[in-house]
Structure formats: C-alpha cells, structure tokens
Symmetry: C2
Subunit: 325 residues, 2 copies
Amino acid sequence: MVPFTNNVADSVSQLGEVALIQQISRWLGPVSPASPHGIGDDCAVLEPVNSGQQILTVDSVSYGQHFDANVSPEDAGAKLVKRNVSDIAAMGGSPGPAVLALLCGPDVCTQWLERFFFGIRQCCEHYKISLVGGDVSSLARGNFSAVLTLTGQALSPKLRSTAKCGDYIYVTGTLGGSILGKHYQFQPRLAEGQWLAQNPHCSAQMDLTDGLVKDLKSLLPTATHAALDLGTLPIAPAAYTLAKTSGHSALQHACCDGEDYELVVTLDMQVNCQAFEAQWSAQFPDTELRQIGRIRRSSSGGQLIDSATNTALPWSHGFEHLRVP
Amino acid sequence: MVPFTNNVADSVSQLGEVALIQQISRWLGPVSPASPHGIGDDCAVLEPVNSGQQILTVDSVSYGQHFDANVSPEDAGAKLVKRNVSDIAAMGGSPGPAVLALLCGPDVCTQWLERFFFGIRQCCEHYKISLVGGDVSSLARGNFSAVLTLTGQALSPKLRSTAKCGDYIYVTGTLGGSILGKHYQFQPRLAEGQWLAQNPHCSAQMDLTDGLVKDLKSLLPTATHAALDLGTLPIAPAAYTLAKTSGHSALQHACCDGEDYELVVTLDMQVNCQAFEAQWSAQFPDTELRQIGRIRRSSSGGQLIDSATNTALPWSHGFEHLRVP
C-alpha cells in the first residue's frame, strides 16, 4: 500500500499538527503514557534505570528505502521498532522508553498512518516499550520517514570492540535473501542476545544489518582476520531462491545481503564449544546457532578469509547505504 | 548554499557509509567520544544522570522546511542542536548526550555536510553536548533531513500542565518575524529556563515554537482562558519590518509567527511581581521579560482573550506544520 493520497480530505494536511498528535496518542493507546512520562510536554521525563547501564540507539525507516508499497503499513511500523530492538539485543540489553520523529509530506494518507501506528503499537506492546514523546515535521509531497530513538538498559553492555584474537565466531539463524521478506518479518534476537551476553565466555556481540562481510569487519581487533569456514555458513532458503534469478550464488547472498538482523557473537578460547552449543539448543531449540569461523592473527588485518583456501573472500562490500545504484 | 551537487565526486555517494561515518567522527572532533560512550557500537552506553531526573526530547531539521539555501550549512547544523536545547531549557534542565539520525539523498554535497557538522560541533561544544551515536540512511535525491535526540537532566522538570488559574503569564525576549533571521540565529534560553524553574513561584514553563496563539493554549488548565494585555506584548522589530510588506499587522506577527524560541513562564498569585522582575533584570540585564497577561476562569475555556476588549483574539492558528500552503 502506497502511503500517499491525492485526496486532500484523506491526508494528514487536513488534520493539521495538533489534531494529528492527538490522533497518534489515541492510536498508540496504552503505549502512550500521560505527560510528564509521555507525549505533551517539551521533553519527556524518564523513570530512572533500575539496574545496570543505560544504552541508547536510533534507527529510521523511509518509504522507498526501507520499505515499499508491497509492505503493509503495520509491517513498516513494526520494522521501525524492531530495527531498534535488534540494536538493544546486540548489546544484551532490554528496551525502555522511546521517542519518535515523524517526517511526512502533506499528502501522507491518514488511514495509512493509522495502520503504521498500529504496527508500532503492537510491537511496542510486545516489547514493553513506551513511546514517551516525539516530533512531527513536514517534508515535500511524496516523502515519509520515521526515526525512532530507543533507550534500554543492560547489566553489562556487550560491545563490538572487545573481541580477541583466537575467539570463536558464531551466528544465529540463517543469512541472505532478506529482501524476499525477512527484512520486515524478522524477530529481533532479544532473549538470545541477553542470554549470550550473560555467558562469561562471550567476548563481543553485534547484529547484522549491512551483511556479514561488511559488519564482521567492525568486530575484528587490529592485526587479525576472520577465518571463515564457508561450508558451515547457515545459508537461508531465501538466499537460494534469490540465487536462481539474481546471477549471484546463494553463498554470496548469505555473505553480502543486508538486513539479516541476526546476531554475531564471539566466544573466547576457553569456552567448551560442545557444552555451549548444547546449552543453546536447550534454551533456544528453534533457533540455529552456528560456529562459522575464528579470529586469527594476520599481518594485513581486517579481512575475511576462506579458511579452506586461505584466500580473501571475493566480496568486500555488504549493503551500502548512500551508493548511487 | 544548496546542500546538493550534480558532481558525483563531490557527493556523499562517493564516500559511502563507512567512510562517511569515519568522516563525521573526525568532523565532530572532541564532541564525538570513543565507543562505548560514543560512535562505533550498536548502542551508546550512557553515563548515569548524577542529579535530578532524566529528560528526553527529539527535533529535526529538513532542507526546504526548517532552512533553505539562504541559511549557511553551519547555521543549519547549529539550528538542529539549538531547537533541542530550547526544549531542555523549557523544562529548566541542562543538556546531556545526544544521538543523530542523518537521512540524506546520494547527491548531498560532502563539503556542505562538513560545514553542517562544523555548526553542530561548535554548538555542541558550547552546550557541552556529546554526540554518542547515530544512524545514516538514504533518501531520494534532493532530500536532506537530520533528527537529533537530546537527553538532559533537570533537578525538578518544569511542565506545561501545572499552570493554575490566576497565574501571571510572562514571556522572554521579543516575538514575531523570526523568518527574517531569528529562526536560526536565536539563542536558546537555557540559563534563563534553569533560573526561572528554580523560582518557587514558577508554576509552568514552555518554549514558543509554533507561535504564541497556538502554543499558549497548551499551557491553559481546563475551564480557563489567557487574558492578554496586548499593549504589553513585546513585539520584535522584525515583526514591524515584516508587517510593511506582509499585509498583516506587527501584532499579528508577534501572536502567530513560529520559531521564536522564547520561553513562556507562569508564576503563581503569591509572587511579588515587582521583586521578581527586579531579580530578573539583575540576573539577565540584556534579556527582556514581560508580563503579558493572566490565566482567568472561563466557561468556554482554552481561548486567548484581549483583556482590553474582553473578546477572543481574531487569530486562532500559529505556525501549522503539515498544512498545504
């Protein structure tokens, strides 16, 4: 469904800002608490974090970039929330209050927006997120973006920068071909991220948004490379489907496609891999966790290496924002 | 200066996302701390708030909406920060860490963006704000928006909803005609907001962004109106300048124009107005503070009344986002 309408009576311009914000508050229902802990003042007042450290992330969805007319408004709204929840999951945290900035053309359809907010509401209810404030501003006709800033808390936030040479590299779920549906149907690995972060052997953690070959580099300490066992890479069925028509291999899709929203976690050399994998299976019987390689010392550094051939992967770019297609 | 370029070599698409984020971090210099308290991880980890309550606000700037080619990139960047700081000022707080979402077309000019970030940096340095994280995503060509989410802390956050019938209404500075320059040259009333919020007679506070006649309504308790002494309204020189060509009176501009970023504060009936005004003048000799009316009981409610004639102001709308011009 396209977010825009040519009928002024059906558009947000007809409502105006004050009425729209009142509507949004109604649409959100219990997800929108009363001021001062909700919409209606210059700032929202937050409840203190009750344990651990506070964390903060921001992510957006724009029509034509992160979703199109084939994605329902509800799914687009839910995607905005889930993108942020995935970042919280990557730190091993749990989500808290959020604020939303809405940037929309005057021709955004009110009915479309109601359904977009219904998706946000359902998703916020699921993750116990309160939408405590926001901002509405205009763009030119035919434009729609929404930016969510999500707070969270983590007992011990798990970083990217703390991986070490010798660590085992694991990935959750399967990779590649998310454009066929997973890019909005994914479930953030929240419980998984919290569970992994509590493991004393877990050295670093991140979520995959721009593709393994691009994202994994940010996890590598100086003068190391990732030696990947490509035969064990959990390739998604969608990657095989896409490969039939794309001209690329399923493996390439698994390595390069964006928006997997899976977790990559590194475990130190002292871990008993077999015992760890057994604990995982008992805890998350429906979610794959696969050891895909190790971090090795390297003079060049920063590369992804096929451990079978000891050569660099032929693909260096994952999903690249801002590139002219 | 227009933010876009037709020369691909000069555009952000040439840089790509990873290099752009590295550039942004360099451009921001000391305003961009190292991970985990800065850019580089899935979330930023925040230092605990050391006193009072934590507050949170979000505001955006979009090219063509909040600034145009007549505004320098530095001023546009600074405006983004100052819009948010004004919200913190309205609560009587002080600003803390922030996260930034950048939404830009592939044709955004890198040099323009560097200057935009220089404006952000200078302003963040001035207000001691750290930019601890963010997100970069694409829009269609010719589009540029930036959304800043700013945290803050306030000993006792000053709300809109706590004004009472009988309260005196004061406004800082002068009003109207901000389109002639103040809309980006304003200084958020941060010290003023903190000082006012600490006054035991201060019952409520807000900043003026969409015009007095629109914003003041949100301060009125049920079954009250604002009885305004229009003769005392501090009309900005720019409002008179604008009135010469706009077809509207300077008074109307002062009442209706948006983006004044002045504070409206209400003081309870027990205040000694003369003593309070003398204290203000001693504290802020260069900033006007004017009593413009009182909150009175009213059966209809929610209106702005000319106290000289006891009739409603003829203008009901301030600056209206989302309206089709």
